[in-house]
């Protein structure tokens, strides 16, 4: 089953951020709590953790891109259980 990862709201004051680095590549195993990617907001660089356990399928955004809260950023394949 494919789960979508959307950009969370990381700053109470803004909905648009600067996408930093990916810490997981397509094909990588991810566990709940692993850092998936980094996003820069006005005050901080946030490391966003995975809410799922599975295999990262696809990146939907690239480093350096501007992202908006709610944007699809990745897909993760989780096993049915």
């Amino acid at each position: 089953m494919i789960k979508e990862v959307h950009m969370p709201k990381l700053s109470p004051k803004s909905n648009q951020y600067f996408f930093g680095e990916w810490l997981k590549e397509p094909g990588d195993k991810v566990s709940k709590g692993d850092v998936l990617f980094e996003v820069e907001t006005d005050k901080v660089v946030s490391q966003v953790e995975s809410q799922e356990t599975g295999v990262l399928k696809e990146h939907q955004v690239k480093s350096g891109q501007t992202v908006v809260v709610g944007d699809l950023v990745a897909t993760i394949e989780v096993s049915e259980s």
């Binding site: 109470p12 930093g20 820069e40 005050k43 660089v45 946030s46 966003v48 350096g64």
Partner: protein
Amino acid sequence: MKQNNKKTTKPVWLKVTYDQKKVDRMNELLSGLSLNTVCAEANCPNLGECFGSGTASFMILGPNCTRSCRFCDVPHGHPKPVDLTEPLRVAQATKKLGLTHVVVTSVDRDDLPDLGSDQFVRTIQALHEVTPETTIEVLTPDFQGRTDCLDKIIAAKPDVFNHNMETVRSITPKVRHRATYSTSLGVLKYVKEHATSKTFVKTGIMLGLGEKDEEVYALMNDLRSINVDFLTIGQYVQPSEKHYKLREWVPLERYQKYYHEAKIRGFKFIASSPLVRSSYKAQEELMAVYEK
């Protein structure tokens, strides 16, 4: 609109982790009770960590502030009428979150005859009633230096009275609005002299505004000359282009140096590192002193 391919200039220690579900849960609880936090209003870099672990600093009398300090991200605007149910809601949220230490701060309310001091008192009283075991820290405005306001707060017996100096003397007029170095120092002095020894007096400063070593030491000396107990030192992070320009990401070594200089001068507790904010891990601070 932010430019693509913008290179980050933020230092590595400004990386924080973020667990969306936990933060969402906290946001739900807070908005359900219509409470403001300084965490959200000031866009704090530690929000993910603190909300993730179920702690928050309540900001009463807000969300709009009557002052517009150049370092601060709390919105300046027309203040709202005082909500007399807010103190009880703060106490209820504190109980619900199971906080053993709570930090209550406020916006400046120069528009009110009591400058907001009565709402602090009501909040302390509500907390005493609803959750008597919780230790209480207030982080207050300068109340324009008015001792009648301070007297009321002293009488309500918070465990920690915190009022931030924010920066060294020379930079104060550049970043603070309608607040002066001497008024703030006077506030701390008055509370230290008039409160019982059970109320600790605390202050905090930001680094990276262009302050020099000697100026920081002069500030420490001023604070110790009036027996301020706790000192917090953290990095200023410029909230937006419009705010006071960040002069420097202060290297970690300087935080350590200042820690030692503060220790020598006799502060009971010092927190000195980039992500320290005045209420960050305030409970650990108080516990460390109680254990001594």
